[in-house]
C-alpha cells in the first residue's frame, strides 16, 4: 500500500515539474524593471490614451495634412501611398454618394465639372487615416506579431519584423495600410508616434488651418479632444464592424463609409 502511494506521488510530482517548466518557458524572461523605471520619468505610455477628432464641417479640403504627413513620415510621393488622405463626397438627388480623391487630396481639389455639379444635394470633405481601433483586425491577422497596439492605444508596425505578407492590408476595413515600395513592409499612420512621445502634435493636426483635426487624450477632461467630444455628436466609421475606432468624426454624414 505504502509503495503504491509513493508511485502515485512520484507520477504526480513528475507531472507538476513538467507543467512548471512548460509554464516558465511560455512566460518568457521578465522585463528588466530598472530600465523601464528610468524611461518612465520622461514619458510614461501608461498615462496616455490617444485619439483624434475630425470635425467634418470644418474641413476645407486644402490637402495641407496630406502634404505634411508625407513630408514628416517620408511617405513615398507617388499618389498611391498615403498615411492620411482626404475624400470629397458628392451626394446627388438620388441620395447616392460619389467619392473622389485625386492624388489623395495632395494638390487640393479641382473644381467640379459642369455636368458633375448639376445634380448635387450636398458635398463635403472627409479626411481619413488609420482609425487606431481598440480591437484592430490588422493586429489579429498578423502572422508574426509585427503589428500591435501600444499601451497608449496607438497601433504601430514593427518594420524590422514585418515579413510583407499583406494580410493586414487586406484585413483593414478602412484601407488605411499600404505596402511601402522601398521597405517592402506594411506602413500606415502612427499618430506621428515620434512626435507625440516628445510632446508635439501629429504633423497633420499641427498643420490643419481650420482645426478640423483635433488630437488629444481620450480620458483626460482637459484635452481639446475631450472638449470636442462633449460639444458635438460623434460618429465613427463602420461602427457595425465593432472595431472601436479611436478616430472620432463629428457631424459625419450617414453616407460616409
Amino acid at each position: 500500500m505504502a509503495k503504491n502511494l509513493k508511485r502515485r506521488e512520484f507520477v504526480r510530482k513528475c507531472a507538476e515539474g513538467t507543467a512548471t517548466v512548460l509554464l516558465l518557458s511560455t512566460c518568457g524572461p521578465l522585463p528588466s524593471t530598472a530600465e523601464a523605471s528610468e524611461k518612465s520619468k520622461a514619458y510614461s505610455p501608461k498615462n496616455h490614451l490617444y485619439g483624434m477628432g475630425i470635425q467634418v464641417n470644418k474641413c476645407i479640403g486644402c490637402g495641407s495634412c496630406v502634404r505634411a504627413c508625407k513630408i514628416e513620415n517620408d511617405v513615398p510621393r507617388e499618389p498611391y501611398f498615403f498615411r492620411t488622405w482626404v475624400e470629397r463626397y458628392l451626394i446627388d438627388s438620388d441620395l447616392e454618394a460619389h467619392v473622389d480623391s485625386p492624388k489623395g487630396g495632395y494638390d487640393s481639389f479641382p473644381p467640379l465639372e459642369e455636368e458633375e455639379g448639376g445634380d448635387i444635394l450636398r458635398s463635403f470633405f472627409v479626411p481619413k487615416l488609420c482609425n487606431h481601433c481598440d480591437k484592430p483586425p490588422c493586429v489579429q491577422v498578423c502572422p508574426v506579431g509585427a503589428t500591435f497596439r501600444t499601451q497608449e492605444g496607438v497601433v504601430l508596425i514593427d518594420e524590422g519584423y514585418c515579413v510583407g505578407c499583406r494580410y493586414c492590408i487586406q484585413a483593414c476595413p478602412y484601407g488605411a495600410r499600404y505596402m511601402h515600395p522601398e521597405k517592402h513592409t506594411a506602413d500606415k499612420c502612427t499618430f506621428c508616434y515620434h512626435r507625440i512621445t516628445k510632446g508635439l502634435l501629429p504633423a497633420c493636426v499641427e498643420i490643419c488651418p481650420t482645426q478640423a483635426r483635433v488630437f488629444g487624450e481620450l480620458k483626460s477632461p482637459n484635452s481639446p479632444l475631450h472638449r470636442m467630444m462633449r460639444m458635438t455628436e460623434l460618429q465613427v466609421l463602420k461602427p457595425a464592424l465593432n472595431t472601436e475606432p479611436k478616430v472620432l468624426y463629428s457631424r459625419l454624414d450617414g453616407e460616409v463609409r
Binding site: T18, V21, L22, S25, G28, P31, P45, N57, K58, C59, I60, G61, C62, G63, S64, A68, I71, E72, N73, R88, Y89, D107, S108, F109, P111, L112, G117, I120, S123, F124, F125, G145, T147, F148, R149, T150, Q151, L156, I157, D158, E159, G160, Y161, T190, C192, Y193, H194, R195, T197, L200, L201, A203, E206, I207, C208, P209, T210, Q211, T232, R251
Partner: protein
C-alpha cells in the same frame, strides 16, 4: 538479460525507479530541453515583454526626428509676426503650413545662433488657392475666390498681408456667408428689408451654423402682416421708405387657396416666379 538491466546504473540519485520510467524521463527531458533551446533561438529579443510583439519596436517607432517644429517654437524668435498673426484671421493657421517644415532651421538657430537653412517663402498664388479657391464642397462661410474673377494678374500678397489677411471690404453680417441671397435680395422689391425682419438668428448660429439654424416664417399670416388687405402696418417701422398703399395687398382668404406664400413667391425675389 544483463544488458537490459544495465540502465539501473543511472538511477543512482533517484532511488529504485523502474527502467521504463527512467527511459521515458530521458526522452521527454531531452525533448523539453530541445524545445526550450529552439524557442530561445527562434523568438527574437524583447518579444512578448508587453504582448505578442517585440517591445523594442515601440522605441524604433519613436526614434525619428520631427520635421515640423511646431507653432510655439516659431514665435520665440519671430515675435512681431507671431503677434500680428495671433489677432488676425490666420490665427489658427500654423506658420509651417506656408513656410514648410522648419525643425532643421530651429535646431540650427539653437545651436549656432543664426541658422543656415531658411524656411520657404512662398510667393505663388497656388499656395493661397489651396485653401481659398472656390469649391462647392468647402464649408459655407469660408472665404473663397474664383481665381479668374479676382484680380487674376496680381499676386495675392499685393493686397493681402498673409500674416493679417484682412480683406479690403469686410462682408456684412449675413452676406458674409449668404452672399448669393444677399445679392438676389439687393435687386428685389424686398431690398430695403433687413434679414432680421423675417429671420431670427441666435448668436450661436454664427459660431456653429449647422447645428443652430435661424428661424424661418412658417405661416401665411406672417406675410399677411404686410400684404393682407387688412394690414395696418406702417412701412417706416421696417425701415422702408414707401407709402403703405404701395405695398401689394391681397385677401388672404381667397388668394392662392391653401398654398403657402413661398410656394409661388420666392421671398428674396418676390417679383420672380
Amino acid at each position: 538479460m544483463k544488458l537490459l538491466r544495465s540502465p539501473s546504473r543511472w538511477d543512482l540519485s533517484i532511488g529504485k525507479w523502474p527502467d521504463q520510467v527512467v527511459r521515458l524521463v530521458i526522452i521527454f527531458g531531452s525533448g523539453l530541453i530541445a524545445a526550450i533551446a529552439l524557442r530561445q533561438h527562434f523568438i527574437p529579443e524583447t518579444f512578448g515583454e508587453l504582448g505578442h510583439f517585440r517591445s523594442i519596436a515601440i522605441e524604433i517607432n519613436a526614434d525619428h526626428d520631427p520635421k515640423y517644429a511646431g507653432q510655439q517654437t516659431c514665435g520665440e524668435c519671430h515675435e512681431s509676426q507671431a503677434e500680428l498673426k495671433a489677432s488676425s484671421y490666420h490665427r489658427l493657421l500654423s506658420c509651417e503650413n506656408c513656410h514648410g517644415p522648419s525643425a532643421i532651421h530651429v535646431a540650427e538657430a539653437e545651436a549656432e545662433g543664426f541658422p543656415d537653412t531658411m524656411p520657404e517663402l512662398p510667393r505663388s498664388k497656388q499656395v493661397c488657392l489651396n485653401c481659398h479657391s472656390y469649391l462647392r464642397s468647402r464649408p459655407t462661410g469660408f472665404p473663397q475666390i474664383i481665381e479668374l474673377m479676382h484680380n487674376p494678374a496680381e499676386p495675392c500678397i499685393k493686397c493681402h498681408d498673409p500674416h493679417d489677411p484682412e480683406p479690403p471690404e469686410v462682408p456684412g453680417a449675413c452676406s458674409g456667408c449668404h452672399g448669393q441671397i444677399a445679392r438676389t435680395k439687393a435687386i428685389s422689391h424686398h431690398s430695403a428689408l433687413q434679414c432680421s425682419t423675417c429671420h431670427n438668428a441666435p448668436v450661436e448660429h454664427k459660431q456653429d451654423p449647422r447645428s443652430v439654424a435661424p428661424s424661418k416664417p412658417r405661416e401665411r399670416a406672417f406675410c399677411g402682416q404686410c400684404h393682407s388687405k387688412d394690414s395696418q402696418i406702417d412701412p417706416s417701422t421696417l425701415g422702408v421708405d414707401i407709402e403703405a398703399k404701395q405695398i401689394p395687398h391681397i385677401d388672404l382668404n381667397d388668394h392662392g387657396n391653401n398654398y403657402q406664400c413661398w410656394q409661388c413667391h420666392y421671398p428674396h425675389f418676390p417679383e420672380g416666379h
